[in-house]
């Protein structure tokens, strides 16, 4: 409790007839006045209207209120509004509490007005009980450095670096290989425009090299990351040499890699003319296929969409153990394949099929598929392939096609035609396996250093798949390109620009307010066991001189540490034991 005795003002909203049509609001107002520590209560037609908000502000001053409870709708939508009203009246906004009597009362009990009114009273009583224990909180302000680190010099990383550099931010672009370019260096042409990759790659590399705001560091890897949003300290290693840089934001564009089947899967590695699509790309680019083949058979979804998609038990893997998690995923996927659709392979196969047809019109190209997934404008691309006599044959995916040596150096593919329901034997000169994009092993190290979780598929995980697709759970760290899952060139560029925009929003503001709801360690009680350090998903706890400390900028306020601390030495501010138990008690109290 604050220094002065709580004086709570309760404002009960009719929400037109949304609440007032079911709950007897005047009765609740009268009831609220009887509750301990309530100094004032009133009802409003719409508390969220200007008149309603003014009424709160006036009452705070007139009745010297030091806590405010609004009983209306859900705090998920309206808490910020009422908090700002409190702030404007000079009351710390954390001394505000909401009672949800619309979504969780009147709207779900429309036909039980008596019981709904009783429940509304209970909800108000619980909110008042909690408000009694509320404490003012401050949101600390952080300085944000206006420099950025981009990890990965592929098309996504370069695009992100250029976007930021063109806005005037200093960018360190780190690439582990000796040259910029990433996966595109190995590709020949790009679907669906059939452009040479160099047409896109070369100008981008040049723009990066010419830009004075971008410092490109090749043959360099990130070896350590410390700090938090706005103030990351990153150690970069280059052939044993080390260098520290300080940046405000980090964009991870470490990309993905093409899956190479283990030796023996689809007889890969046993015959020289069984290749992956990526290897075919290189063969085509270098003109290595000289003799026109009679037939080329492509097999889709090799090592993709395989195995049951099961939720891996992430629970057994606290943050310090991401390595073990990825190792487990990699091991499980090695034989059975990856569960997801890699989304680029269909178009890639069609592209290479068309390229073969262009070069060798007489060659029979057969694509064995389970499902063809051509989205958006790629449907036209698929039609083009069909017009060019590329044959699409649906086979029974559960039966892995067998490839054997036939006469005259030919291969024979044995598969089951899904439409006719019969075995087919296809003599051919080349077998091409369409394999998915999979996470890089380096990702695990990065994930661990950056404290960004990895998804079930092994990619770096976005903060929210739909709402925050380039953010990570760590403030100031963003994802670009295939680091978060298979993407083609346009998608990589879109996500890179999005990540750059998110990073520049932070850096342009130069300052940000962080979470006020953080955990606090009572040093007297703490015995330095380190459990909080182990369980925190954000690395917000660290041990120093035998005591745990919270890094406020990293803490997200989940409160798990408070619930777990063996010594009960950690308090989760704004969700303290007292506050929650006050609500429990109030909920179960007989109406007073």
């Amino acid at each position: 409790m604050g220094e002065e005795a709580p004086r709570i003002g309760v404002f009960i909203c009719h929400c037109g007839i949304n609440i007032g049509g079911v709950v007897k609001v005047p009765e609740v107002v009268k009831y609220a006045r009887t509750l301990p520590n309530v100094a004032y209560s009133e009802d409003n037609i719409y508390t969220c209207s200007e008149a309603g908000l003014d009424s709160i502000k006036e009452a705070i001053k007139k009745y010297n209120l030091n806590r405010v409870v609004v009983a209306s709708c859900t705090p998920r939508t309206h808490e910020p509004l009422f908090r700002s009203a409190c702030r404007e009246a000079g009351l710390n906004q954390y001394l505000f509490e909401m009672a949800n009597i619309r979504e969780q009362c009147s709207w779900v009990h429309a036909h039980q007005p008596e019981k709904a009114t009783k429940k509304a009273k209970d909800i108000v009583r619980m909110a008042v009980a909690r408000a009694t224990w509320l404490m003012p909180q401050e949101e600390p302000e952080l300085d944000i450095k206006d420099t950025s680190l981009v990890i990965g010099g592929g098309i996504a990383g370069m695009t992100a670096a250029l976007t930021l550099a063109n806005q005037g931010f200093k960018v360190y672009l780190v690439e582990k290989e000796a040259e910029l370019g990433g996966n595109l260096r190995r590709l020949h042409k790009l679907y669906p425009t059939m452009q040479d990759t160099s047409e896109i790659l070369m100008p981008t590399i040049e723009a990066v090299t010419m830009n004075k705001n971008v410092e490109t560091l090749v043959s360099t890897v990130v070896s350590d990351v410390h700090g938090y949003v706005g103030n990351f300290k990153v150690t970069l290693s280059n052939n044993g040499g080390k260098r520290d840089v300080e940046v405000g934001t980090i964009i991870v564009a470490c990309g993905a890699m093409n899956y190479t089947p283990p030796k023996g899967l689809y007889q890969y590695g046993e015959y020289p003319n069984i290749v992956t699509q990526l290897e075919l790309d290189e063969l085509l680019r270098n003109g290595k296929i000289k003799k026109p083949p009679e037939r080329v058979v492509m097999i889709q979804c090799v090592g993709a969409r395989k195995g049951e998609i099961r939720a891996l038990d992430l629970a057994g893997f606290p943050k310090s153990d991401t390595a073990r998690l990825l190792a487990k995923i990699l091991k499980a996927k090695k034989e059975e394949g990856w569960p997801y659709c890699s989304k680029i392979c269909c178009m890639n196969a069609i592209k290479n099929a068309i390229l073969i047809k262009e070069r060798f019109p007489q060659t029979d190209v057969i694509i064995l598929y389970g499902d063809i997934r051509v989205y958006k404008e790629y449907e036209d691309f698929y039609s083009t392939a069909r017009e060019n006599q590329v044959k699409f044959v649906k086979h029974i995916e559960e039966v892995t096609p067998e490839i054997t040596q036939g006469p005259e150096g030919k291969l024979i593919v044995e598969a089951y035609d899904a439409l006719v329901g019969r075995e087919m034997k296809l003599p051919c000169d080349w077998v091409v396996l369409s394999t998915p994009l999979i996470p890089r092993k380096e990702e695990v190290l990065l994930a661990r250093m950056l404290k960004v979780p990895i998804s079930q598929d092994g990619f770096l995980m976005e903060a929210h798949l739909k709402l925050r697709p380039v953010d990570t759970q760590m403030d100031g760290i963003f994802l670009a390109g295939a680091a978060s899952g298979p993407k083609d060139v346009p998608e990589s560029i879109v996500s890179a620009k999005a990540a750059a925009a998110r990073a520049s929003t932070l850096m342009a503001n130069k300052k940000m307010r962080t979470e006020a709801l953080t955990s606090v360690v009572d040093e007297k009680e703490c015995i330095g066991c380190g459990l909080c350090e182990d369980i925190c998903s954000y690395g917000a706890h660290y041990l120093e001189e035998g005591k745990s400390h919270t890094i406020a900028a990293l803490c997200r306020g989940c409160g798990a540490c408070a619930a777990e601390c063996p010594r009960r030495a950690i308090t989760m501010q704004h969700y303290t034991d007292e506050q929650i138990l006050a609500q429990v008690k109030a909920a179960l109290m007989e109406e007073i």
């Binding site: 705090p75 989940c558 409160g559 179960l588």
Partner: protein
């Protein structure tokens, strides 16, 4: 007729990001459900301590619902998993206390599952009505046990990802929980009625004298209880 008049009170802990939003969606969608539930919002189900649940039962809750994000969906990465592991301990503790474990439920509700939330409240209310009112057995000892360092450690090491054999961990940890609850029962008993002999404590707590002796030895060792004279050729024990 009497059963139909019993109007249970069910306490529901909802996490801000998923299940509380699911409850909101039930409202926006106007899915009706019984009025028996009282919702307490926390940021994450990982914040919910066993003591909150036991305090609720102590104060007369007929049922307690813990809800959170679906596995893998936790806004805070793994708070719901932590809750799930704690949940197993609370369930077991309820059995020791003579409270039907069915009174406590853990369910995952996403922000999009308004209908599921409404159905859950309907179903839970029905189930609790069938169970009847909270038996109001004493939960103080268990609350103290869950506040005590030893039991919290046992739950905590699992969260920290220590590599232990699961079967063995389960057996040992539940045994430790039982011990801690029984020891707290003994302490509560002595605090309430003054120094007692092992025989008296066994009768009062319904723990076998052999076990009470084992607990007394353990509590003596850490200085929590000590001898306080004799009665009928047996030692009396007090809380030091």
């Amino acid at each position: 007729m009497e059963e139909t008049e019993f109007d249970p009170v069910i306490l529901a802990f909802c996490c801000n990001w998923c299940s509380y939003a699911g409850a909101d969606l039930a409202g926006t969608s106007r899915f009706e459900y019984p009025t028996n539930v009282r919702i307490i919002r926390v940021m994450c189900s990982g914040r919910i301590e066993p003591t909150f649940v036991l305090e609720a039962f102590k104060d007369g809750a007929d049922g307690v619902l813990i809800t959170g994000c679906h596995p893998g969906d936790c806004h805070y990465v793994q708070g719901n998993y932590m809750m799930e592991r704690r949940f197993a301990f609370i369930k077991e503790a309820l059995k020791h206390l003579g409270i039907e474990p069915e009174r406590l439920r853990l369910e995952w509700i996403s922000a999009g599952e308004g209908e599921k939330f409404a159905a859950l409240i309907r179903d839970t209310t029905q189930r609790i009505k069938e169970l009847g009112p909270n038996p109001l057995t004493k939960t103080d000892a268990a609350i103290e046990a869950f506040k005590a360092q030893r039991l919290r450690w046992v739950i905590g090491i699992q969260q920290a990802g220590l590599k232990v054999d699961e079967q063995r961990y389960k057996a040992v940890s539940l045994k430790i929980m039982k011990d801690e609850i029984e020891r707290q029962m003994i302490i509560v008993e002595i605090k309430e009625k003054g120094p007692q002999t092992i025989k008296e404590l066994a009768e009062a707590t319904k723990i076998s004298p052999k076990e009470v002796l084992r607990h007394i030895i353990a509590l003596k060792k850490i200085g929590v209880v000590s001898e306080a004279g004799e009665k009928e050729d047996a030692y009396l024990y007090k809380v030091s």
